[in-house]
């Protein structure tokens, strides 16, 4: 039986190819049909696959399809094939579903931008690579997808490549990811060395024979190197620096690639490699610690950012930290659960932020916003749902996923990491509500309409969606092209917000924990994927003995912990309410009081500057002085220049033999004949 899974990634690839090659001559409508059509078909096919998947019996999962052998070299073999189990199914639905919704949104958001076809070609290309990454049945193909999404990310961050900062941000993302990819690649080499190939099923089966490594051995090394790769792609300490800059890209890109899907590839990879990580407790601890620290660190930076997208970017980094935190406690199910809910609510937040930016004609600084509630009520409600969700309020999606992570963390005995997680959760609530209050409440602090010169929506298209107030204002000021007051976005941008808002609300309900009368369905669904765990076999017995009797007390404790996180979120909410709504004069005073600390956090702990001074500057100096001026200019250019100059000088002299004087030619002939005769006489004629 075959599900023909290859169709799913190939549909967006076809869209990307058609739009990329011929899109320039297409009308926007045709580009839409191709780009959205291919994504929609992929999503529908994914739904069909889902239905079929539930018809499979347990021994048919994972469902592996082999298409053809890609590389053979000696005993090494890599093939094109797909691997469908519960984990890749969840990822498949997230990528195609959220991807499709964001494609729709992009139609509205990118309407007035040049390179419309290019944008959608890149977006489809991203879908293709992401689906390859998710569906691959071996690590090499996963790596192909891994690199491919990096490429798509680079292209889309630098979409407005005429803007220096965008081009640089693209390069920064690409290069930072390379650092991580080196780690991933070495991990793959280690796997090839020990197992001979990179097929998931082979490796996971072979690993079953390996004991848990208590000291640092090859499995630990592989796990750590994989984490290096994951921290590059998923923006964890110390490689997170590219993600905030990646916000230079169009907002739908930030939502799709840099929040919902691509950056979660690292989490997916760690979860997929659970067979490796479960045998390497040291690597697992590192994953958990990095995740937790990132969650706290990024949340603290998010508190003082003023760019609306930067706040969300640091929030993404922080939430990704939570996912790694879960993986570090071997609660991969919780990590993937949070990955899913995060895809919903973060895409919602980004798209709402995009609607705000769109409605303000490109303004991203929250200090110039405020009071937008009455200008864009629909966006306001979408953002409200997103904010309450990410902060973890009951019964919204992130409440269940985040609490499951924190609970697993505590149950796993990592009480310090749990505490940090709770603090980060409070900070999350604080900076999100800060964003919410600064953007939608108070008075509009934006520039007076006539000073705004963006004017991208002076066209009738937008006027149609604009509130009557807006039109009156514009008339009253006699401004024929100015941006006017903030306005609501067109329906094509609001509809995706609605879909995502609904998902953000109900998305967590599939994983209601037992403590709240649910049945942890999501966890149980994913369980077969993580059955490679030796903990379940060896450690599980002792753990089972310890846990089972305490089950009922645990439930009470779990509910207690939920209340703690709710309290943290509520504190965040009231803190933000007090500082950014009630007493808006306070933050400035507090900043003045905190002085250096305030500036340090505002400047993102000056990590970029640190990397600049310790890594980038030395490399630039080395490259300039040694590699460029030394090796390239002096050695290579010098050798070549000298060789060519020498040849030219020599021929310049020889050229004069061809004087056009017949007698000199004859002289040379005679001279040559003389030399030949002399030689023959000297050697003897025979």
């Amino acid at each position: 039986m075959s599900l023909n899974l290859w169709i799913i990634p190939l549909l967006p690839l076809a869209g990307a190819t058609i739009n990329g090659l011929f899109g320039k001559r297409f009308s926007n409508q045709l580009v839409n049909v191709i780009a959205l059509g291919s994504t929609a078909l992929a999503f529908l096919y994914a739904l069909y696959v889902t239905v079929r998947f539930f018809g499979l019996s347990a021994d048919q999962i994972p469902h592996i399809e082999h298409y053809f052998v890609w590389i053979t070299a000696g005993t090494f073999m890599a093939e094109f094939g797909t691997y469908l189990d519960q984990l890749s199914l969840v990822m498949l639905l997230i990528v195609t579903g959220v991807g499709f919704v964001i494609h729709i949104y992009s139609v509205g958001y990118m309407e007035h931008e040049g390179g419309y076809y290019r944008f959608f070609a890149y977006l489809n290309l991203f879908m293709f690579f992401m689906l390859t990454l998710v569906l691959a049945n071996n690590y090499l193909m996963m790596f192909v997808g891994w690199e491919g999404v990096g490429l798509a990310s680079y292209l889309l961050i630098g979409f407005w490549f005429l803007k220096d900062s965008a081009a640089n941000a693209g390069k920064k993302a690409f290069i930072t990811n390379r650092v991580g990819d080196v780690g991933f690649l070495i991990a793959l080499f280690l796997l090839v060395k020990h197992f001979g190939n990179l097929q998931y099923d082979n490796i996971f089966k072979a690993l079953a024979a390996y004991p848990v490594e208590t000291s640092v051995g090859f499995i630990t090394a592989t796990g750590l190197l994989m984490m290096v790769g994951a921290s590059g792609k998923s923006a964890q300490i110390p490689l997170y620096v590219w993600l905030p800059d990646a916000m230079e890209g169009p907002t739908p890109v930030s939502a799709l690639i840099h929040a919902a899907t691509m950056v979660t590839a690292g989490v997916y990879m760690v979860a997929r490699s659970n067979a490796i990580f479960n045998r390497a407790p040291i690597a697992l601890t590192v994953v958990g610690v990095i995740g937790t620290l990132t969650a706290l660190f990024a949340a603290s930076i998010g508190i003082l950012q003023t760019d609306i997208k930067k706040v969300l970017a640091y929030s993404t980094v922080s939430q990704l930290g939570y996912m790694f935190m879960a993986c570090g406690a071997a609660a991969y199910g919780a990590g993937i659960f949070h990955l899913m809910t995060h895809a919903f609510f973060k895409a919602l937040l980004f798209l709402s932020a995009g609607a705000v930016i769109h409605g303000l004609g490109g303004e991203q600084d929250m200090r110039h916003m405020g009071g937008l509630r009455k200008y864009m009520p629909k966006t306001f409600w979408a953002m409200t749902i997103g904010t309450f969700t990410i902060s973890g309020f009951f019964p919204l999606a992130a409440f269940f996923s985040k609490d499951e992570i924190l609970w697993k963390e505590w149950a796993g005995g990592n009480h310090i990491l749990w505490l940090i997680g709770v603090i980060a959760a409070g900070m999350t609530a604080f900076y999100m509500f800060r964003l919410w209050f600064m953007t939608f409440f108070g008075e509009y602090r934006g520039p007076a309409p006539e000073t705004v010169s963006h004017g991208h929506d002076a066209d009738p298209q937008h006027a149609g969606h604009t509130a009557a107030v807006h039109a009156q204002q514009a008339d009253a000021q006699g401004s024929d092209h100015g941006h006017g007051l903030p306005h609501e976005s067109p329906m094509i941008m609001i509809a995706p917000l609605f879909v995502l808002a609904v998902l953000s609300v109900i998305g967590g309900w599939i994983g209601i924990p037992a403590a709240l009368g649910g049945s942890d369905r999501f966890d149980h669904f994913l369980e077969p994927v993580f059955h490679f765990s030796p903990v379940a076999e060896a450690g599980g017995e002792s753990a089972a003995v310890a846990v089972e009797p305490a089950e009922h007390e645990d439930r009470a404790t779990e509910i207690g912990f939920m209340l703690i996180s709710l309290a943290a979120a509520t504190m965040g909410l009231f803190g933000a309410w007090f500082l950014y709504y009630k007493r808006t004069d306070l933050p400035a005073k507090m900043a003045a009081a905190a002085g250096g600390l305030y500036r340090l956090v505002r400047d993102k702990y000056r990590i970029d500057e640190l990397y600049g001074a310790t890594i980038i500057q030395p490399i630039i100096l080395l490259s300039t002085n040694v590699l460029w001026k030394g090796v390239d200019a002096t050695l290579i250019d010098g050798t070549l220049d000298e060789a060519s100059a020498g040849a030219r000088d020599l021929s310049d002299r020889l050229r004069h033999m061809q004087s056009g004087n017949i007698r000199s030619y004859a002289g040379w002939v005679a001279f040559g004949a003389g030399v030949v005769i002399a030689f023959m006489v000297w050697k003897g004629v025979r």
Binding site: Q658, S659, G660, N661, R663
Partner: protein, 100 residues
């Protein structure tokens, strides 16, 4: 009987005269004649050796050389006439356009 070396020495002298004339003279006709002189010096060597070794090969070669020389004379003189018509000179030093 004249010894072989006499013929060879005469031949060498004639050939040297031909080379010298070819190198020194400017008039294209003279140069042409010098080439004929060199060819005939070689012919003399051939027949001298043929007589000495009692072989017909030398004679055959001489005929070949004479045929080639006749053909060369026909073509060469035609070229000289063509050159003279266009440039009105027979001085080779002034026929030097074909150079770098």
């Amino acid at each position: 009987m004249v010894p072989l070396s006499y013929y060879l020495i005469l031949s060498a002298i004639l050939f040297a005269c031909g080379v010298a004339g070819f190198l020194i003279k400017r008039n294209i006709i003279t140069i042409f004649m010098s080439i004929e002189l060199m060819l005939n010096a070689v012919n003399l060597t051939f027949v001298a050796f043929a007589a000495e070794l009692k072989s017909l090969s030398g004679h055959i070669f001489v005929f070949f050389v004479m045929v080639v020389a006749a053909a060369e004379a026909a073509v060469g003189l035609a070229i000289i006439i063509a050159v003279f018509r266009t440039r009105e000179t027979l001085n080779v030093d002034r026929v030097n356009l074909l150079k770098l």
